[in-house]
């Protein structure tokens, strides 16, 4: 039932550089550096600050140092580092970004100015470390989670300080919206503060706070008694937002990796989790990729050690020779491929070159190349066109549907539907593609020219494409095809773009059955 192109595997062995650059000298970077060193690789760690606390002996640590430029491909990156106006050049096989989080007090949200009686969480922690007894018998109010959703790390800091304060005989109030207890052990801390006499005010609207030199008033609606209440604490402690490092944006540009939400350095795409970026050989860990605490950062450090070893191994790599190849006679260096490659796998000398180490074989470049100069080893254009031809069949009066299926999602779902004996139209033929981004407009139009009654383009959901935007390219090409079909008076209902996931066998079945229904209504293709 399925038409697949035959893979041709020709491989070559290449020698790669196995040194690793770690960016960020906080606990996450140091831990990752230590783990990677233990796997037998030489690590250079750079940190923008002039000094860092811990020093791992086996790691080369360069403080006061920033990354200014990166060239090359995984296994052979050239990085340029700037240190006291001196430029250092290094060759590395992989790069690990481990920038730390920074903290920003949210006092302005609450209309407060930091003062002796209004402290940011960090200030409170330092004061408690210096002299906890100074807080003896005070009334302390914490405010958290009203203007920004808070997180378990922030709650943990509040609760830990509250316990220290309670030991000093303080009365602790916590004004909070959603209590973020979603982390190991927080329920215990939460309960301890409460059992020590701490009071939580769970409010949906922020309390009104007036700061008048020495007097503070917090007005809120008591959620239990349902009436307004005033509190005049000796001290208000304001939470801090946990923000990604300022360096991130620059690093994303230098390393050509995608930014995620809120200045994080990893897109919200499950194929990148835990520690990958869109580029092979560039990894993101800890606070560089998510709002996280130390134990999650350690988890990332362990995972990146696994991934670095998977990539660099013993310094020799076997790669597929013809994964994606540029025909040097056809290439005019228009750089379309360089710009559309989501994996940063393309560079050029006097023609475009695709790195077999970095290439993920999605084929977006091959479909976008205006000169048709790029061929994928496993999915050559002539093989694809042959597959299209073979998929156009006559099967009684059953409408013929040619479904181009992304191998990561729709093709898996199709296999599931088949295995589970779900209902499928008799005239359905599936063509496996490496990514929806490899479905050329030519393939779609040829299917119709050959006589297909309908064509389905089946891609991953937005945000779930392994190659980031392959599904977007496919959607654009369908829109182009629809325009051409409208101009020629061909029913556009015969071509449909849908998204689904690998585990959606039943949806696959409903989608193709629905398409069959539509095609029955339209009748056979006029091109038949």
């Amino acid at each position: 039932m399925n038409t697949e192109t035959k893979p041709t595997v020709e491989t070559e062995e290449i020698i790669i550089n196995t040194d690793v650059l770690v960016i960020g000298g906080g606990p996450t970077g140091l831990k990752a550096g230590a783990e990677i060193t233990e796997s037998g690789y030489k690590v250079t760690l750079i940190e923008k600050a002039a000094a860092i606390e811990a020093k791992e002996k086996s790691i080369e640590v360069l403080t006061g140092t920033c990354l200014v430029d990166t060239r090359g491909i995984p296994g052979d990156f050239t990085v340029r580092l700037e240190r006291k106006e001196e430029i250092i050049e290094r060759k590395v096989g992989a790069v690990v970004i481990a920038t730390d989080a920074c903290y920003e007090p949210l006092n302005e949200d609450y209309g407060l100015s930091l003062a002796d009686n209004v402290l940011a969480q960090s200030e409170l922690e330092s004061a408690l470390d210096a002299d906890a007894a100074a807080f003896n018998q005070k009334t302390i109010a914490f405010v958290t989670g009203f203007y920004h959703e808070s997180n378990p790390m922030a709650l943990e800091r509040i609760l830990k300080s509250a316990i220290v304060l309670q030991k000093q005989g303080c009365t602790v109030y916590v004004y909070v919206n959603n209590i973020k207890v979603g982390a190991d052990g927080l329920d215990l801390l939460y309960k301890r503060v409460r059992d020590n006499g701490g009071i939580y005010f769970k409010l949906e609207a922020p309390p009104k706070i007036t700061q008048n030199e020495a007097t503070l008033t917090v007005t809120s609606k008591d959620p239990v008694l349902r009436r307004p209440m005033d509190l005049s604490p000796d001290l208000i402690v304001v939470e801090e937002a946990i923000l990604p490092d300022d360096l991130n944006e620059g690093l994303a540009e230098i390393l050509r990796i995608h930014m995620g939400p809120r200045g994080l350095l990893q897109k919200n795409n499950v194929h990148r989790f835990p520690v990958s970026s869109n580029r092979e050989g560039i990894f993101v860990i800890g606070s560089a990729r998510q709002t996280c605490g130390l134990s999650a950062a350690v988890t990332d450090a362990k995972n990146v050690a696994l991934e670095v070893e998977n990539l660099l191994g013993d310094g020799k790599r076997i790669v597929a020779k013809d994964q994606a190849v540029v025909d040097r006679n056809k290439c005019v260096i228009c750089l379309t491929c360089y710009r559309c490659c989501p994996h940063g796998a393309i560079y050029w000398d006097n023609r475009a070159i695709i790195s077999p180490m970095a290439c993920q074989g999605c084929g977006i470049c091959a479909s976008e190349c205006p000169m048709d100069a790029i061929q994928l080893g496993d999915f050559k254009d002539e093989d694809m066109q042959k597959a299209v031809k073979e998929s156009v069949v006559t099967n009684g009066d059953a409408p013929n549907i040619v479904a181009f299926c992304c191998q990561n999602s729709a093709f898996e779902a199709a296999e599931m539907a088949t295995e589970f004996k779900m209902m499928l139209p008799a005239g359905l033929r599936m063509i496996k593609v490496p990514c929806a981004g490899k479905i050329d407009l030519d393939f779609i139009m040829n299917a119709f020219v050959e006589g297909a009654d309908g064509v389905l383009i089946m891609a991953c959901h937005a945000g779930n494409c392994k190659s980031d935007q392959g599904n977007t390219y496919a959607k654009w090409r369908v829109a182009d095809a629809h325009r051409m079909m409208t101009e020629t008076g061909f029913e556009i209902e015969r071509l449909r773009f849908v998204t689904l996931a690998s585990n959606m066998g039943s949806e696959f079945s409903s989608i193709v059955l629905d398409m069959e229904k539509t095609l029955r209504k339209l009748g056979p293709s006029p091109l038949k």
């Binding site: 499950v270 362990k302 898996e412 959901h461 779930n464």
Partner: protein, 393 residues
């Protein structure tokens, strides 16, 4: 097999066990993957995709992909329907397995078209096509494919025995199992997965008004479950969003105590949910059945006014509780449980370590986790185990 070949046993074939096994095989370590059920993938393989028009990062498809990796990996030997009976340690670990009782599945109802009983059919085939290789043509587990060995010698152990979903029957006022239209989050997942939609069990129609009740079996000191299960806000919110996308007229209410963060972009995601769903900060206790099989409940609103509301379907967001075999496994392995009954990590920062050298924990065996966090934790456990077996003589 080569005597120098290092070997690790992974106990549990859920997403953590699969990930740990795969990561070790990638480093040329042989793995015996032992699973007591008749299929791989644990609870997570039964979860549905929660995408709207875009992916919501629930991770269900990652389980499918990992299962595919594992069943196609020659270095991983799968032992299905088996459990660990005894462990001896003298340098290496000597493991004794015995067979568990698995109800012999019958394929009879599913030989024809899938729609006769999709849920039953999916269960019989292990919820994923990648489990199909363990079954013969009649839909029975193939004894040739599920491991015959009763004794294994390994260099290290990864314990990935997972969790047990909270039994909603323990909260009797919800009448789960008595009222047709009170279901659990797990039932919702299976229904969405098998039928590509949601319906009321009483009459198979799509519900117009749905309530999710959060924290069922979590943050409940009276039950002795004080912990937050960490996965239920994410799954309830993502499921509710997916339902709202599929059925735009569906009226969905979430009853909650505190909304926990979902994913990387938790603020934006929560804001989007607040636009599409009703949030009511209270946990209703009693459920009644109306004459037309709807579910009536009552609660106080913000002003203290009593409200009675009726829903077509109530979904109980059941939490993550310690595995049923945890005590027994802890005894067999000589490791400790924490106060809640999950396996105790011996280091507060390295949560894959146990008090025993050579035994590591992965996934929800250690405590509640979402799919992506379980996978990362399993990678961590694999890394520790790899290091251990390389250093071992």
């Amino acid at each position: 097999m080569d005597k120098k070949q290092k070997k690790v046993i992974v106990i549990g074939g859920g997403i953590a066990g699969l990930t740990a096994a795969w990561e070790m095989a990638r480093k040329n370590i042989a793995v015996d993957l032992v699973e007591k059920a008749g299929f791989l993938g644990g609870h997570a393989i039964q979860y549905s995709c929660k995408a709207t028009d875009e992916c919501q990062q629930c991770g269900a498809c990652s389980v499918e992909a990992m299962l595919k990796n594992v069943v196609n990996e020659p270095l991983i030997t799968v032992h299905l329907g088996k459990q660990v009976e005894k462990v001896n340690q003298n340098g290496k670990f000597e493991i004794f397995l015995n067979a568990c009782d698995i109800a012999d599945p019958s394929d009879e109802n599913c030989t024809g078209a899938y729609e006769t009983d999709p849920m039953g059919c999916a269960a019989i085939r292990g919820f994923s096509r990648h489990n199909a290789i363990f079954y013969d043509a009649k839909g029975r587990l193939d004894p040739e494919k599920i491991g015959k060995t009763k004794k294994l010698a390994v260099d290290a152990i990864i314990l990935a025995s997972g969790f047990q979903p909270f039994s909603a029957e323990k909260k009797p006022t919800y009448n789960y199992g008595i009222f047709d239209n009170v279901i659990t989050g797990m039932d919702l997942e299976r229904c969405k997965r098998a039928y590509d939609g949601l319906f009321c069990p009483s009459d198979k129609r799509v519900p117009e008004k749905v309530a999710f009740i959060q924290c069922v079996g979590s943050r409940d000191e009276r039950l002795g479950n004080p912990w937050c299960s960490q996965a239920c806000c994410p799954y309830a919110l993502r499921s509710a969003e997916a339902l709202k996308y599929k059925y735009p007229d569906m009226d969905i209410t979430l009853f909650y105590m505190d909304i926990q963060n979902t994913g990387k972009d938790y603020s934006e995601f929560y804001k989007k949910c607040q636009e599409n769903l009703n949030f009511i900060r209270t946990i209703p206790v009693d459920m009644y059945k109306t004459e037309d099989d709807k579910i009536q409940t009552r609660f106080m609103d913000d002003e203290g006014k009593p409200i009675e509301d009726v829903f077509d379907l109530v979904v109980l967001s059941i939490g993550i509780t310690p595995g049923a075999d945890n005590k027994q496994l802890a005894e067999i392995l000589g490791i400790e449980l924490d106060k809640d009954g999950f396996f105790q990590a011996s280091d507060i920062l390295s949560k894959a370590l146990t008090v025993k050298q050579g035994i590591f924990i992965a996934g929800t065996a250690q405590g509640p986790k979402t799919i992506d966090v379980s996978m990362a934790h399993a990678g961590q456990a694999a890394r520790e185990a790899i290091r251990f077996v390389r250093e071992a003589k």
